[in-house]
Symmetry: C2
Subunit: 372 residues, 2 copies
Amino acid sequence: MVPGSLLLPMDEAVVHVKLDNERSYPIQFATIQELPEFLSTSGIRKGKYIIVTDTNVASHYLNPVRDILSGSGWDDLIEILIDPGESSKSPEPLQRIYNEALRSGIDRKTPLFALGGGVIGDLAGYAAATLLRGLPLVHIPTSLMAQVDSSIGGKTGINHPLGKNLIGAFHQPTLVLSDMNLLQSLPELEWVSGLAEVVKHGLIADANFVDELSKNWDHILQREKQSTQRTIMRAAEIKALVVSEDERETSRRAILNFGHTFAHAIERVAGYGQFTHGEAVALGMRAATKVSALINPDLPYAFIDSFLRRLPVRNSIHHLDPGVLTDAMYYDKKVQEGNLHLILLREIGHAYTTSEITEEQILTGWNYLMDL
Amino acid sequence: MVPGSLLLPMDEAVVHVKLDNERSYPIQFATIQELPEFLSTSGIRKGKYIIVTDTNVASHYLNPVRDILSGSGWDDLIEILIDPGESSKSPEPLQRIYNEALRSGIDRKTPLFALGGGVIGDLAGYAAATLLRGLPLVHIPTSLMAQVDSSIGGKTGINHPLGKNLIGAFHQPTLVLSDMNLLQSLPELEWVSGLAEVVKHGLIADANFVDELSKNWDHILQREKQSTQRTIMRAAEIKALVVSEDERETSRRAILNFGHTFAHAIERVAGYGQFTHGEAVALGMRAATKVSALINPDLPYAFIDSFLRRLPVRNSIHHLDPGVLTDAMYYDKKVQEGNLHLILLREIGHAYTTSEITEEQILTGWNYLMDL
C-alpha cells in the first residue's frame, strides 16, 4: 500500500508522443481533478461521453471521475462496466460495448474513456478504434503497467483462442492522464508486475535509468513517493520515445517486446491467468538475457540477472515442458515466414531484433528457467 | 472541383492514391494475368496468401486467379469462401476469417486478397485491418461499384443491427487491381447500381465528366468497351483524388457521401437487401438534388434530375413513411451532436457539407421521392 497522498508538483509533468498528421498527444502526469482542463486543451468535445471500466476499478474511481467531469459540465455519461480480468479481452464484452455505445446515439466525436488497467485499455481502446471507424480515446490508466506501458503507443486489441492480442488495431489516444494516486489501490502483485515493464524499458533503452532503478530499488518496491514518481515518468517517456520513432512496429518498436516472446509462451502454455503478464515478462527477460549472453559474451550477464531476480515474482515453471514452450513461441506476432524474431540485449540499454537464433539457444533459455 | 481530365493511354493505366508515410498505393487498370507482376512491384511478399471471396465470385474467378498466381510461385493459398450478400458483413463470417487465417499460421506480412464486390471488400478489408493489427491488403474488385468506389480509400467494416458500417476501420490497401473483364459476369442491376456511384463522382467533383457521361450514356449502359473503360478510370481517379486530400474524412472526403444519408435511411427503413446500395444512392441523389435546389436556386435542377432519371433503377418507395425515413437519417455516421450533416450541390461538380438544414427541407426531399 502506498502511504499518504502522492500529489505531484505539476510543472513540467508531461511527455509528448510525437506522431505525424497532428496525431501527437500528451501523457499528462496529473490528478484526475485536472481532467476537465486537459480534455479542453486536447480539443475533446464536451457533452456525451463513454466510460469503459471494470467493476473493481469502478468501485474505487468511477464516482470520483464522474463527479469531477459533471462539475465541469460533462453530464451525459454512457457507463459500460466490464468484468475484471484477461477473459474480458474477447468478442462478447466487445460486442456489449458496441451495443451500449451505439444504442446511446454516439457520433464520431463522442470520446471514449478507458478507465482501468491493461485489459480495459486494450479492450476499450479497440472498441474506440472500431466504433464508427474510430472515436477519440482518452486513457486513464489505473495500474502501473498501464501507466508506463499499455496506455502509450496505440496498441489495442482482444485475444483469440489461438493467442493473445491476435485481433486488434493501432489507435492512438488523444490524451493519456496518468494519476499516480489511482495506484494506491493496486494489489502488490500488480505493482510488481508493472515494475517488470519498467525494468524492461531501462534494459532496452537507458543504462542510466537501470542504474537509478538499481540504486533506488527498495524505495520503489515500497512505492516511496518521489522514487515512484521519477520511475513512472521516465519509464513512460522511454516508451513514448520508442513509439514516436516507429509507430507501427515496422522495426525499432519491436525492442519493446524484450522478454515477451518467452513471456507469451509461458502465459499460453501455463494457461492464461496463471501468471500475470508482468510475472511472465520478468521470467521472459531472464531467459532472453541468458540467450543474449550466449551470443554477446561481453554482456554483464551476472549483473542483469541479479537485477532481474530482485523482481519478487513467482518463478516456478518447471511443471511446463521446454519443447512445448518453444513451439508456443511460434504463435508470436513477430514470427515471419515461420522464423522466430527474438529481441536480445547487446548491452544494458541497447536491445535489437534478430532472426538468427537456433532452437538450441532458445532451449538454453527455457532450461535456465526450469532450474530456478 | 477535381483537377485534370483523364486520357491515359492503356499502357499507363494507373491511378495513384497519394497518402503520407509511404502508404500511397496504385490502382492498376489491368488484367488479372498481370497480378504477379504488380504484386512484386508493390513489395508484397510471395508465399502464403489468403483469398477471401464469395461463392458466386469464386465460381467464376477463383480458379483463374489461383492458377495465375501459382504459375508465378504463389503456391500456399488459404482460401476462405463467404456466402454472397450484405448479410455476410457481420460478426460470424468475420470470426470465420479470423479462425481460418490464424489456424493457417499467418504472420504480419501474409497478404490478404479481397476478391469480390463491395461486401467482400468491406468484410475482408476489415479482417485485414484487424488480424495481427493489420495485414497487407490487395483488392481485386469484381463489381463496377467496387472498382470505382469501395475498393479505393481504405474504408472497411461490417454492419451492426443498428446500422450499416457502424463497426469498422480505415485500412488502406497496398494494391488495387481493377480488371474490367471481371465485370462481364455482373448482373444488370449491379451494373446500374455501380453507375449510380459513377454519376455521383461526376456530380460532386467534375462537370466535364458529367457532360461526357451524359453524351455517352447509352454506350455506357450497354457496357460498350471504350466508354466503359474511360468511365471506370475517371470515376476511380476522382475517388482517389478526394481520398488523397482527406484520408480519414475529417472534412472534404464527406462529399463522397452525396445522396448517401437519404440512401442509408431508405436501405434501413425498407429493410437491407430490398434495394441495392446503388439503387438507394440513385434515389438519395434525387432527394439531395431537390434539397440542394431549394437552397441554391441557380442549380440546374432540371438537367440534373433528368440525368439522374436515366439511371434505370426501381424508384417506388411510396410504401415508406417520410417521417420514419427522416428519423432513420439520424443514425448516419455524419450526425454530430444530434445535428444532421448533409451533402448538397452548389453547382454541377461542386458539392459541400452543411448542417444548416431544416426538417422541412428534408421532408421536401422525401416527399419528392414519394411522388415518383
